[in-house]
Amino acid sequence: MKRTQRSLASILSLAVLATVSLGTGSAIAANKVVKPVTIQFWNYWDGGNGKALSALISEFNKKNPGITVKPVTFPWGDLLPKLQTAIASGTTPALAATDIAWMANMNQSGKLVDLGAALGGIKKATGDIYPSLLTYGLYKGKLQSLPASTNNLSLFYNKDLFRKAGLNPNKPPKTWAEMRAAAIAISNLGNGIQGMEIYVQPGEGLTWQFQPYLWQSGAGFLNKTNTAPTFNSAAGRSALQFLVDLINVDRAATAGQWGAFDKGQAGMRIDGSWMVGGYRENAPFEFGTAMLPIPEGGVRATNMGGEQIMAFKGKAASQAAAVKFIRWFTSAPIQARWDVATNFMPISDTVANSTVILKHVASEPALKAFIDQQKYAQARPAIASYPAVSDAFSKALEPAFYGRVGVAEALANADAAVRKALKSN
């Protein structure tokens, strides 16, 4: 008893000491800020991406005495609620980089700095950045954010399994029919090996993986004004039928699991360029990449992902520092090095054709498919109700993959649910 009391007392005094030292630490920091400005940069780039960002930022801080940018990493799923709370309570950071899918929420906040005005006009601020990437930054004629990185979905395939199934490992499928044939051949290897892995968990993951099939088959997702769905058409039904048949008729894919490809137990998967580095290092098989196969008479299309960087309104000095950082970070030489470190895609032709990038792609051939395909990447609707739309869409589609609901019925349900979600916002 005595001993516990004594140890409790010592823990308490330690805790008190620690609190006191914490207190003095921040007091000193507060006194030191006379003219130099320290700004926070909220983002969700973790792991290797986070390290690459920190290295670039310390370079910026060295080059710009008086400005200290401090990266703060939050978990991906939590950055949006965190920013929304900050916007509501007026405690926004000076800088943030967010998922392009959240930009409608950010744009409507009224708290973003007009980068067009701050950087000498939209034209000068954007240079030769691909126009499709600007979809998310332009709001009511103002440029409120710039692309910080971009990426897209391409086809990953397991060359070892291709060889085992008697397929040419250097000739990945180009059409849906070829993809189907390859999936069937690989699933015939048995031992629980799937021909293809399809993402069917409800949520944005399902929507984002399925949209390319819609676009390739000629169906859309929403109309041009983003007011009504356009996927419930013959083309849309053919896209969903293709995947449903792959699972339930050909038995060449299994609904429900995700991760078989990582373990070498699935022949193909659609995923992003950020997976290239990890597979090169750790995958227990030889992998290849290819542009997404398209249906007979279809068009090339993939989905566009990435992040936008933005500055929040605040004290003049912080705002100026934030704008300065954005200009630096989105400049071609820095973007090229950022892409090399992260395997994200170039945001402009200048970046794509820089010697740094060309050298990197030569050393990592798996990136070529992604770079070739970037120009076919389509933007998801930049509207505030998009998360609700995507959620409703994926939930209506999920049962179709399990064969519980017919394709036509699932798309009709999705149509109704999406209309409702569009009205809700």
Partner: protein
């Protein structure tokens, strides 16, 4: 004959216990095994019993972020919240049980009703108060609002109710003040309940994620759960590091549980029969 029957019952009991404990232990084993896998094997077929011991995961996880700082923050918060809750709950529970005062019943029911409000619902109003007090991004925001607990008051009151008033009277006769009675007589007698409350408070503060996420902005103030969440990102989850960090984060909770295990079980068992 009788002894065979007894033996059979015992075997059945233990079989049931073994099955239930394996259900509880499996995720822990899985966590430990994954934390020791070399990154290359994270991609390969799963196995349950650790066969590789790649301790570097722990080094890497700890170097990824200032985890030592996160631990210090979490320890400060968890210990302060624990002491705060025990202290305030003891005073309030004693007052509710031993004293008569106006509106006692309605106050008691308001207190109980406050337990029905789910935490996420309180986040925004709480955050606005913290903001107005200028406690945002400060550990005070994690400690002070959490130093009170309706559950703690309920738990201790139930227990104090079972302690005969004779103890209070005897102490008073010897000249003890009310605070002295609570500190030297009631709390030692209520030790199982206090231990239960302390453990719950500690685990709650140690595991809390949403509130620290909303309140804290600078990495120097982050707590362990915030650091751990960063191993699972948009561009993939680093399972081996995530699990190594989780194993490290579980250790204080396990130690706290083992230290208070006996009192905890007594405290929970007695809570049910006291009214």
């Amino acid at each position: 004959m009788k002894s065979t029957k007894k033996l059979l019952i015992k075997v059945a009991d233990h079989l049931t216990l073994i099955v239930i404990s394996s259900v509880v232990i499996l995720p822990f084993l899985w966590m430990i095994t994954t934390s020791l896998k070399p990154p290359k094997l994270a991609f390969s077929s799963p196995y349950l019993i650790p066969t590789h011991f790649y301790w570097q995961n722990f080094v890497n996880a700890w170097q990824e972020a200032p985890f030592a700082r996160y631990y210090l923050n979490s320890i400060i918060v968890a210990i302060s919240v624990t002491f705060g809750q025990v202290f305030t709950s003891a005073l309030a529970a004693y007052a509710f049980d031993r004293f008569e005062f106006p509106f006692k019943r309605s106050l008691w029911f308001t207190l109980l009703a406050s337990m029905m409000v789910p935490l996420p619902l309180l986040v925004i109003p709480s955050f606005q108060i913290i903001q107005n007090l200028h406690w945002a991004d400060n550990l005070a925001a994690l400690i002070i609002p959490r130093a009170w607990s309706a559950f703690g008051i309920l738990l201790l009151r139930q227990f104090i109710h079972s302690i005969p008033r004779d103890f209070d009277d005897a102490a008073r006769m010897d000249g003890a003040s009310t605070v002295r009675v609570i500190w030297s007589v009631i709390l030692p007698l209520a030790r199982p309940a206090v231990a239960t409350l302390a453990l719950f408070a500690f685990l709650f503060a140690w595991n809390d994620f949403l509130w620290p996420l909303i309140v804290l902005n600078t990495p120097e103030n982050f707590t362990v759960p915030l650091g751990i969440a960063n191993f699972s990102g948009k561009y993939g989850t680093r399972w081996t590091l995530l699990m190594a960090a989780t194993v490290s984060a579980t250790i204080p909770a396990v130690i706290a549980f083992l230290a208070m295990q006996k009192s905890l079980i007594r405290g929970l068992a007695s809570g049910g029969i006291n009214e």
